[in-house]
Amino acid sequence: MSPSVPLQEMIRAIRSARTQCEERGVIQRECAAIRAQFRQSDNGGRSHNLAKLLYVHMLGYPAHFGQMECVRMIASPRYSEKRVGYLGAMMLLDEKQDASLLITNSIKNDLSHSNQYVQSLALCTLACMGSAEMCRDLAPEIDRLLQSSNSYIKKKAALCAVHIVRKVQDLGELFVPAARSLLSEKNHGVLHGAVVLITQLCERNPETLKRFRKTVPDLVQIMKGLIISGYSPEHDVSGISDPFLQVRILRLLRILGRNSESASDAMNDLLAQVATNTDSTKTVGNAVLYETVLTVLDIKSESGLRVLAVNILGRFLLNSDRNIRYIAMTSLQKIVGTDHNAVQRHRGTIVDCLKDQDASVKRRALELSLALVSASNIRSMIKELLLFLSSCPPELKAQATSGIFIAAERYAPSKRWHIDTILHVLTTAGGDVRDETVPNLIHLITSASELHCYTVHKLYRALLTDISQQSLVQVACWCIGEYGDLLLKGECQETEPVQVSEDDVLDALETVLQSHMSSSATRGFALTATMKLSTRITDNVDRIRSIVSIYGSCIDVELQQRAVEYNALFKKYDHMRAAVLERMPLIEKNNSGNANGEPLQQSPAAQTLPIITSSSAGGDLLDLLGGLEPTPGPVTPGFDGHCEQQSDSSLAVTLTATNASQSDISGFTLQAAVPKSVQLNMNAPSRDSLPAQGAAQLTQLVMLNNPNKVGVTHDNTQSCHLKMIAYGKNVAIFCELFFGLIHLV
């Protein structure tokens, strides 16, 4: 075909423009000329002008004034103009433009044109930008074309029908008979179109799916024909006969075989044959094998076949081609839940892929490795993952750290190993860990009482080396504050002893306080730690006093408040200081607030749950209040809660308090704080004192109403923090209430 000379001249002119400005100038001139030409009536060069406009449009310049010209050209009797007109329609118009409605009539006429190429233009354009109305209008026409004798038209009509079904699902019924009959075609193009159409119909309508299950033997037959057929030059790709058709048939078989024993049985042999006979040296063979594996794993195949499929994936993992390794890992990710042991066999290779250069492969390997961690391989896996973390690309760091934490928490063989692992992560990637890590780690450390000495030594050393990782510094400060006396004693079984003087420790804490790298929260930790040391060290109390008083005039309000309060503790309440700053009791963990945030699955009906005192993120606030009791153990009334869901948005909580201790609790009052979106109504308690040893109970009814359903998550839970502070003997209890799913903690 002779090239369009005017078009080529314009392209040459645009390309020879040396600057962006010059190019814009050329294009503006050309567009003006084109607009002028459009306004003229019929002339011979219309198709060239529209082609020029389309080129300009591809460069990114506005071309909407060409839309009407497209409409006019589509209606022209000349084939050359129709061709460019339809191309323009596909590029410039879409279903949202008003002008697209104007071409509906032209398309309708062209669908019944005598020339198949004109028909094909109309079919192509309808399939590209047909709106729902157009599809509804023209569907019967497409159905008629599906039954014509011309293969060229049939294959295009099949894909046009696919578009119609995507746009208007109900019209699918119309095409079912024609689609069924197309399966007996010999022409590969038509067959391919038919398979795609049937796939669409089955995906959208389960009824149709059942009907098409009967075609499984026919599909198996066609596949067998493709596999064993001789060389066909027009369909052959590197020894595979028509891989595109093979893959589509496999995909359809997958949909038909899912959840159906009989259909799966019918295709077992075929899948085994394809899996064993396909040549896997080239990409195209691997494409067919990949689709086969996906099909085998998705249908109800027999176990031998499944093993074969997983082995193929294992072979893919060892392939030198990166693409193949990538898709192998993607597929293994999908089945790691169901065929866990089979995937475990390939763990070594997967872990090796962590060291691959390619970022996509690394990402897949990381996800898969985290899924494969189990109690038996935890040590070696975490070692590999920590190695990975040190050279990990930044976009994967957050995922890697949280994955390591979850795995370590689930399968830690010993507390010391757990603490070591978390410390290692904090030193390597402390900036990318989540916020809950600090309180979680603190809780872990307090629960491992035999390791306090070891931990504090290790953290002190880490603090000396590097104070830039905020999470690490915060934990280190907290530990030094709590266990500073162990640090100063200097002897420790588990690590080499080091002579630390009180000045050294205070120097370290002061460095943290003064460093510009420390965040406000970190400095808060450091200040509290310094204060706590005042009871644990003997000589340098004055130094501590001076530090604390300096921060009494700090700009940071939080620090200032703390410093002033600590100052007061030195001056007016010195008699209480030792008690306030005592060693923290063991905090019991608030399980519902963990990383995954999965609330316990309990029915919202009346529930009773045990009370646990929770640790909130402000660990040092708890310090202050937790140490308020003058007696060694806390005297807490036992709390029981009954929750009843009154309606969709309100909850009635009945709290029962009992006192199992030796002494009476008098002056019992309940205070509750809820978020603004929740309304709280408290009835009066039944009595205001609790005699000792459970002699009597106290009940109080609290109504919670959430009329706007603020904060209700998709599974109808809402966390509503109900802080209850009972004043008897200065005892503080923090409780949390989850709306809907109860969790009185």
Binding site: M58, D94, K155, H192, V237, V284, Y290, I327, Q357
Partner: protein, 154 residues
Amino acid sequence: MIHFLLLFSRQGKLRLQKWFTPLSELEKKKVIRDMTLMVLARPPRTSNFLQWRDLKIVYKRYASLYFCTGLEEKDNELLALEMIHRYVELLDKYFGNVCELDIIFNFEKAYFILDEFLMCGEILETSKFAVGGSVEEADTLQETMEEYMSKPAY
């Protein structure tokens, strides 16, 4: 189904764009920008697959042109590579040793060939010869019609 097919040069200039889902002009520009940035930033000898939003991106470089397509979750990426390769073969057969300039100066022909090969985001014709044959026949039709039309009518 594939959502789009883009061809761009190593300098990021777009040479062909085919969209199989309705998107606004603004969205199209955004996709083009994201694709060019992502694909051109890939170092050599990495895999040809990427993840972008909820689409799988498959790209392949042929000489100075990048062919980039976006697939859905259930599509076969290796087959998409084969599909891109088939399209390049078709262009090669039609233009005879195709290069980027051919596609620049004859972009409408590249579109016609594409429309004979893909439709609705799916492959239309799996035979190598059939696609080239149809395009050539359509070209002949165009010429004869042109000749016919340009004869003066007495």
